[in-house]
């Protein structure tokens, strides 16, 4: 059992930092990632032959970590999906590495996902997440074609806007629900946050990108040609005709469908545990790796990590600075707005289930969270729409597969477990 590797799911900052820490202590690890290259969300690597758009500070942090990964000769398999871990401790991997393995422990470092609040028209072609635009920029160093509008809320909108400016393809406008620049608390953020924000704003102002704060994208209409975005600004309604809309309403742990396992240690690290951003993910990865190593080797656990606490405090401040009334608008969306895009279920379908439906009723009668995403995207809004004040929770118990698994892939996985037990 002790020669079985520790499986690390996710080759972003948290996963790689944990891998480095565990390997330093002599523990065998295996890092997998569903993407074709390592880097995760922040350090997503450009495709071969594409020049990197990473800034100096980012590139520096990354190359330091990679040097350690190489020094420890950590095995990494990209293009490999984690299907989940079952109650016997078997983990399913499909893709480039296709096997059932029985790891000694599992580190889930699957990062964050974006949250996008339903609005009329949010499922139209041409509407994507701001993060999808960013990852396109990182891998291809290319902006999307046509006029781009960024809308929603969160620091990512300014970051993506600035990256588009650097590619000489500035967005038509940025629609931000909060008013971060008008909040005096902004100046109390840690210096690196402020310099980052200042850089973004400099790019955006130089390119004369209209920035609307305290504004909301209320509806997207499909015309023959472009998309028309209707905006509620503080000075009244405005329309923008665009080709691409990048929506973003914050980030959440990417933990839907990830189950723990009673028979082996399972640890969640980085944004997957608590979405606090890159600096925290790196700190959490190192600290979590140390903690797990101590647990497995029976040595003294490390002292609590102050870096992480600082980042948590900074993120909490950022969240207050970015507070806005967008959720109130959720309650006002028209009944025919789609809430669950996999199964095409609307707010009217949700209301038809009556007050306070059970998880079973939501799933079986309402068909919410019954499609390919199993609630990853819609559970938050189904929960909010049932009770605006309560924090949303998953619809029903988490279950693997965390993502759909092809039957053909599943049947061709090698099965060393079977051989072992025979």
């Amino acid at each position: 059992m002790s020669d079985h590797p520790i499986l690390i799911v996710g080759a972003g900052l948290a996963g790689l930092a944990a891998a480095v820490e565990l390997a330093r202590q002599g523990l065998p690890v295996l890092v997998i990632d569903q993407a074709q290259a390592i880097g995760g969300a922040v350090h997503r690597q450009p495709l071969p032959g594409v020049r990197s758009t990473a800034t100096g500070a980012q590139a520096h942090r990354w190359s330091r970590l990679i040097a350690e990964v190489q020094a420890q000769a950590i095995p990494i398999r990209c293009g490999t999906r984690f299907g989940g871990v079952d109650h016997t401790g078997a983990a399913l991997l499909t893709g480039a590495l296709s096997t059932l393995i029985r790891p000694r422990a599992i580190v889930l470092a699957t990062g964050a996902r974006e949250s996008v609040q339903p609005r009329p028209g949010w499922t139209l072609p041409g509407v994507m997440t701001a993060g999808a635009i960013q990852s396109r920029i990182k891998t291809l160093a290319e902006p999307p074609q046509g006029r781009v509008l960024l809308a929603g809320s969160g620091p990512l909108l300014l970051a993506v806007g600035a990256e588009l400016c650097r590619l000489r393809h500035p967005p038509i406008a940025i629609i931000e629900a909060a008013r971060p620049l008008f909040n005096p608390a902004s100046l109390t953020l840690p210096l690196p946050y402020l310099t980052e924000a200042a850089t973004y704003l400099a790019h955006l102002l130089r390119a004369r990108v209209p920035l609307f704060f305290g504004a909301h994208l209320t509806e997207i209409i499909q015309t023959n040609g472009p998309l028309v975005a209707q905006i509620d600004t503080r000075k009244g309604p405005r329309n923008f005709a665009v080709d691409v809309i990048g929506l973003h309403d914050g980030i959440r742990p990417n933990d839907a469908g990830l189950t723990n396992c009673d028979v082996i240690p399972t640890l969640r690290l980085g944004d997957c545990r608590e979405a606090l951003g890159a600096r925290a993910a790196l700190a959490d990865g190192f600290a979590g790796g140390q903690k797990l190593a101590a647990e497995l080797l029976g040595t003294t656990p490390p002292s609590p990590n102050h870096d992480l606490q600082r980042q948590r405090a900074a993120q909490a401040r950022l969240a207050r600075i970015y507070a806005h009334d967008g959720l109130a608008r959720l309650a006002e969306i028209p009944a025919e707005t789609v809430i669950c895009r996999c199964e095409n279920r609307t707010l009217a379908d949700l209301r038809a289930l009556g007050p306070a439906p059970t998880a079973r009723a939501l799933r079986l009668d309402g068909r919410f969270a019954m499609g390919a995403c199993q609630g990853r995207f819609c559970a938050e809004w189904v929960g909010r729409l049932s009770d605006l004040k309560a924090p949303p929770k998953p619809i029903g118990a988490a279950r693997w597969p965390s993502r759909p698994i092809s039957v053909a892939d599943l049947l061709t996985t090698s099965d060393p477990i079977e051989k072992e037990t025979k």
């Binding site: 299907g83 109650h87 016997t88 439906p357 079973r360 079986l364 390919a372 279950r399 759909p404 039957v407």
Partner: protein, 386 residues
């Protein structure tokens, strides 16, 4: 003196059996309340396949009950409460190897003896069903059976006016006397003239002396796809062996492939001696899917989007428990339907409603129903009640 009864009948459990009993009693004009710990279809009825099948039942009593329930389900689905919940469709049973061959022989002769609502329309090679893969030596095609998702039936039954539903409300304790029954719901008490306990596997919590055992089953759901040539369930003969035989080693995985009206497939299922709904494992998944996709290769183009486990309430002697508890005339049991509760729910609801009203069943039923009475465990049950 306990409070006067608020309801004529209290029904514990909003599974398909409790819901059917409630509908029949409300239709007879009684004041009914259905109480559930969680909500409608929260246990087995919301985590099962929905075969309304005679083919899979043990010859004799269970096959007779299933035939009657199938006929009655069809009746309730034409303009009645089950319209939209039940749909008729063919069923296919396949086999290969000696054990499965003889199970198919037994199936054909059982259906001939029953002269019931299910008939064999074809019996021959795999080529009878286009799309069937290799590894099938013989296929039996049946007409007359159907499919009914448990949650749809529960919702349909309970939407009848006159049924009060109370949930989430776990029943903590039951106290019965000669005039009625009082339920302890923690924050309040509820009084009724009669209690029907339709608690599935949770029967054990409140009636620990009854010989009920959990039997978990794992199920797989695929994504949507084109609705293909498979119009009804495709059942391995070893599934019949598992359900009707002595439970010894199965020659091949007892797989059932069910095409859902959504264009998804539901693939099941195992029969495991525990009650955990969170135990779904890759090895089992692979073995079920491996046989399923040999039989129906179109599955290879699908993706698994969900897996889950449901728990059946099995009874030591293989028969459901229906009727008044010995020594507790105001408490009627309707439980222990194992893998057949969806199929039997219509007729059980009708008969339990008659029992509650003190009405006799039709004479040709009397003996079969009497065989289901909890009185058959009297010695053990009384020990537990003491």
């Amino acid at each position: 003196m306990p409070d006067p009864a608020e309801f004529d009948v209290l029904i514990a459990g909003a599974g398909i059996v409790g819901a059917s009993v409630a509908w029949h009693l409300a239709s007879a004009g009684l004041r009914v309340a259905v109480i559930d710990a969680t909500g409608p279809a929260a246990a087995a009825s919301g985590a099962s396949d929905g075969a309304v099948s005679v083919a899979s039942k043990k010859p004799g009593l269970m096959a007779r009950l299933a035939s009657e329930s199938l006929l009655y389900t069809r009746e309730l689905s034409t303009g009645g409460p089950l319209a939209g919940a039940f749909h008729a469709r063919p069923s296919y049973v396949f086999g290969s190897g000696a054990v499965e061959m003889s199970a198919l022989d037994a199936l054909v002769s059982k259906l001939a003896d029953l002269t019931g609502p299910v008939r064999v329309t074809a019996d021959g090679p795999a080529t009878l069903l286009p799309g069937l893969g290799g590894a099938v030596d013989r296929l039996v095609v049946l007409e007359g059976e159907g499919h009914m998702p448990g949650h749809k039936a529960v919702r349909a039954y309970l939407s009848r006016p006159g049924i009060t539903t109370i949930w989430p409300a776990p029943i903590r304790a039951i106290a019965s006397d000669s005039n009625g029954v009082t339920l302890d719901l923690g924050h309040r008490k509820l009084r009724g003239n009669t209690l029907v306990a339709a608690l599935g596997t949770a029967t054990l919590d409140l009636f620990p002396a009854l010989p009920i055992q959990p039997r978990a089953g794992q199920l797989i759901v695929t994504d949507r796809g084109p609705v293909d040539a498979l119009r009804g369930s495709l059942t391995a003969a070893s599934y019949l062996v598992a359900k009707t035989g002595s439970g010894d080693q199965l020659p091949l995985p007892p797989v059932v492939i069910d095409p859902l009206t959504t264009g998804q497939y539901l693939i099941g299922s195992t029969r495991e001696a525990h009650g955990r709904t969170d135990q779904v494992d890759f090895a089992t998944l692979k073995s079920l899917l491996s046989r399923a996709s040999q039989i129906w290769p179109a599955l290879l183009n699908r993706r698994v989007i969900r897996t889950f486990a449901g728990v059946r309430a099995a009874v030591a002697d293989g028969l459901p428990i229906v009727g008044a508890m010995p020594g507790q005339p105001r408490v009627l049991m309707a439980t222990g339907f194992e893998g057949d509760g969806i199929c039997l729910s219509a007729v059980i609801g009708r008969e339990v409603a008659l029992m509650v009203q003190g009405l006799a069943p039709q004479s040709h039923w009397a003996a079969d129903l009497a065989a289901l009475s909890p009185a058959r465990f009297e010695n053990t049950a009384q020990k537990g009640a003491a």
